[in-house]
């Protein structure tokens, strides 16, 4: 479902003496449907960078990034947008929303974007929010005023609203208490059972061992370190 072939990435800082910083080289990996792969490596090794390259947020310098058959490196913006709408979900560490939009609508939005019936979308959003212990009295408020942990859970609810065949999870269990962590882990398990291919970053070793089938150390793709 997700396949990387010899992907490299470098940043060119034009305004800082045109410094070229190579950050990734020869990255190759495959994730099959129903499989969850953890990216590991020290902070700064390029875990999030790799994830952003898969999402099309960062432009790879060379190589191929195939998600559901589409090469994200070469694709047109509208093709990537369609991919993100239907196939590829991403739960980032930060919630980025239009101010003033109620939490329930924020969570339902991915479903509305694929043409889901409004009531069905809102019901599913409500179920997810309830499962993640967001009190119902907060649903009609914008999540911009929520605490860090609440925002994180809203973000997860939004990420799991639509059943994406491929998902990227950037520290989904960070800053969550035990009970919510369990809920998130069972959401991930359920996604695997329905056949989602998942790439995740987990600093939480227990969580990683529980849901991940394999680990990939991104340090192997760091230029100059790996042979």
């Amino acid at each position: 479902m997700i396949e990387l072939k010899d992907v490299s990435k470098s940043f060119t800082l034009h305004n800082q003496g045109s410094a070229v910083i190579p950050v990734m080289q020869g990255a190759s990996l495959t994730v099959a449907p129903g499989e969850c792969v953890a990216l590991t490596g020290a902070s700064g090794a390029g875990k999030s960078t790799l994830m952003r390259v898969i999402y099309g947020n960062y432009l790879a310098a060379s190589g191929q990034v195939l998600v559901g058959g589409l090469d994200v490196v070469q694709a047109e913006p509208r093709e990537i947008l369609a991919l993100r709408r239907e196939t590829l979900g991403y739960v980032s560490q930060f919630l980025r929303v239009v101010p003033r939009v109620p939490t329930l609508d924020v969570v339902a939005e991915p479903l509305l974007a694929i043409g889901c019936d409004r009531q069905v979308a809102l019901d599913k959003a409500a179920a997810l929010l309830a499962r993640l212990n967001i009190p119902e009295r907060l649903w009609s408020l914008s999540p911009t005023t929520f605490s860090g942990g609440e925002q994180q859970r809203v973000n997860i609810a939004r990420g799991f609203a639509h059943d994406y065949p491929a998902m990227l999870l950037d520290e989904p269990t960070a800053s969550l208490d035990v009970q919510n962590r369990e809920t998130v882990l069972s959401l991930i398990e359920e996604a695997k059972v329905r056949g989602a291919a998942i790439v995740g970053i987990f600093h939480d070793v227990g969580a990683r061992d529980q849901v991940c089938d394999r680990e990939i150390n991104v340090s192997d793709f760091t230029p100059g370190v790996a042979a």
Partner: protein, 256 residues
């Protein structure tokens, strides 16, 4: 899928100075494209060339019309272009005063575009005007008030209602949230996003506000000195800018 708008090699010069040059892109139905750049970069010139307000010196602006398929709007006759401007196209000006008739009531402002496409039933026109006032969050009781009695944010929303009432397929927006305070801006962004999704609009938005394009635009074009220096997916251009100027632009944003 046929692009809704195909732009090929648009150039506009003011004497020896370049307004914009060598601009080409395709816009597909439902896409929202942002054009960013500092003042004087040619973004408004480009928008005016695309919308038929300025005549480009070179290039084509091919629009996929409902009846006749793709037609070059630069070479089409003036009446045809005007008809397009009243039906399938809409233009939201930076200053609402430029897009509204200030001496005509709010309802009249919305109704004018309906009458221009052949609506004649006064009651229906009035009902639709009130319906649209509600959609842009203006109290329907203000339908008979003139825009001069409205606040800046309300005027801007009225301008949007006036433009969208005929169900256009392509909306040009020149700094639609410029000059509005941030709370009003957020309301307007939310409103625009909802309308774009519900009506399946395509839009081209010129702005210098990177936060606005991040929330509204699917794709982004960065202009400098009349040239397009970078284009692509909005979040990719903002998070991983490739061109020196875009890097400068992105790193110059003040963090709140």
């Amino acid at each position: 899928m046929t692009p809704l708008l195909q732009v090929n090699g648009i150039e506009k010069r003011y004497g020896a100075r370049i307004g914009c040059t060598d601009v080409s892109f395709d816009l597909y139905p439902g896409e929202v494209m942002g054009i960013v750049g500092e003042s004087g970069s040619g973004k408004s010139t480009l928008l005016n060339c695309l919308a038929g307000h300025l005549e480009p010196d070179a290039g084509q602006v091919v629009f996929d019309t409902r009846t006749g398929g793709p037609v070059d709007t630069v070479t089409m006759s003036e009446p045809e272009r005007r008809m397009l401007g009243r039906t399938d196209w809409a233009f939201v000006h930076q200053h609402a005063r430029d897009g509204l008739r200030m001496s005509v009531s709010a309802g009249g402002n919305i109704g004018e575009r309906l009458m221009a496409v052949g609506d004649r039933h006064y009651g229906q026109i009035r009902d639709r005007a009130i319906d649209w006032l509600g959609r842009v969050e203006i109290d329907g009781a203000r339908v008979d008030d003139r825009p001069t009695a409205f606040s800046g944010g309300m005027q801007q929303r009225l301008q949007i209602a006036r433009n969208l009432v005929t169900g256009p397929r392509l909306v040009f927006m020149d700094e639609p949230t410029g000059g509005l305070d941030v709370s009003v801006q957020a309301r307007l962004l939310d409103l625009l996003r909802g309308l774009v999704r519900e009506m399946g609009l395509s839009a081209i938005i010129v702005t210098h506000d990177l936060a606005v394009v991040r929330l509204l635009a699917d794709r982004l074009m960065v202009m400098k000195d009349g040239h397009v220096v970078e284009s692509g997916l909005t979040d990719q251009v903002l998070d991983d800018p490739q061109h020196a100027y875009t890097q400068l632009l992105v790193s110059s944003v003040l963090q709140v």
